[in-house]
Amino acid sequence: MIQFEKVTRSFQVGDQQVAALRNIDLSIAAGDYVSIMGPSGSGKSTLLNLLGLLDRPTSGIYRLDGGNVTDLNDEQQARVRSEKIGFVFQSFHLVPRLTAAMNIELPLILAGIPVQERRGRVEELLKNYGLIDRADHRPDQLSGGQRQRVAIARATSMRPSVLLADEPTGNLDQTTGREVINLLEQLTEQNVTLILVTHDPALGERASRQLHMVDGQIVSPSRP
């Protein structure tokens, strides 16, 4: 459950305040599949950063699963990120020196999960995403699709309630992009809230709910 109440985010550019998001009210139910579309500069990424607690709103309140996360300090926010939010990036953001298995394990390591449990979860994820025979490969030995599968496995390793995907197919060809989207959509069946930022209208229309952004505002919520 995500709730934005009058969220504004503005940046200081020179001596001017530029608002990237203006007074956004938004509510996304758990397990919802939402796509965010709009031209570049419309505030998509800023919205996503705020949703992912990577950035703080200039004003307004953000509630995640009922709790106000706006006022949390950095450490508490990091903890919320670790436990409730998964990220999938356009450029995968895998750590190049770590194997696929270790990349998937990374959030679990950071969260301090015991070794035994970690092994089991990584094993399971490798199996689910068809990466068993790629477990010991480094990112540069993997194809783009495999990389993004590793990234999705990583994003879901902590079993988050919200998955934020920023142009997840942007660096992939049509076919692998479709595969990746299918994987993400499967997650919504497990009550994971999927929020997808994309340029591609075809992709955006697959979502059960589409948000169009222009100039820092949501112009056409398909469902109020």
Partner: protein, 402 residues
Amino acid sequence: MRLPDVVQFAAASLRGSPARTGLMILAMSIGVAAVVILTGLGEGARRYVINQFSSLGTNLVIVFPGRTETAGIGPGMLLGQIPRELSLDDAAALLKSRAVSRIAPLTIGSSQISKDAKNREVIVLGSTSSLLEVRHMTLASGQFLPPGDVHASESVCVLGTKINRELFGNASGVGSWVRLGDRRFRVIGILTSQGESMGFNTDEIVIVPVASAHMLFNTSGLFRILVEARSREQIAQAKIDTETILFARHGGEKDVTVVTQDAVLATFDRILRALTMAVGGIAAISLAVAGILIMNVMLIAVSQRVKEIGLLKALGAPAAQIRTLFFTEAVLLSGIGSIAGLVMGEAGVLFIGRLYPSLPVAAPWWAVLAAIFTSLGTGILFSVWPARRAAQLDPVTALAGR
């Protein structure tokens, strides 16, 4: 995050750039090795000097003629007189002190020694039977100078091993006659090899009774009197007594110098210890330089790994954790560096020890500890800033790689 995971993660990122890691470890280890080797050398020099002094005897008070310090002007000086000689009777008189257990007068000169057609130049030491104990010498064969009247100029001599070998080959010269200058001496003993000590090689000397030496060199004075105190505690008393007795015998004129072995030793000890510390300190500068290098490279690492840091933050790593990760990397670096440096340093010390067997090189434990702590300390100190910088990165800009 669990500690083993932190260490593993840090180690993995060090392995990720082997060239950089290798160079930093090298810099650190050279610093540590320099401290170990240089202090080892200094300490070696100190021990060498102390050993040399100790091999001269224990609890010694040494008397030599003349005054080496300016304590006013004596009447003798105004008349241009040379200081009064030390005589055999002076030496004998010292035994009156209860703090003194033994004395050994010494006369020194050089002369030609010959046996049949073989001859060479030797240092001739004139002394008494007590020299053997006072000077910690031992005999390989035969006996030492006979005890008895110090004024008796018996024609006997004791040879150093090298002199014996040169005159008699592998046979013992005991019982044979040799010629020293214009007199014939019977060889009664041979010294065991002692090697060189304080630039004086007992293997290449000939010892004769002091009276014989006086006749040989046509003198009557003594070069030194070695006075042995009864115990370590009595050294000071022996020195005072020696001075009192000699000044009294010399008509109140302070024309002898009395030094204790301890005092000389302590002076050398102080000088060489200071030297060791100074050299160690200079070497420690290279450690500080290595520390700054680590800081530099860690800063570069932070900017190279901005994206990774952003990712770690997105994955839920709080700032403190990222700080810990970079910090651990630096600690690992300097830790491995100092261990490698220790190995290098000890190997160097071993090598120098092989090269100069007489020099007892060994880095003192305090220098080794100081080197390790300095390297760890600089490593940690200089990683604080890069680690903080990494932790303070804004995740959004970091993820974008800006």
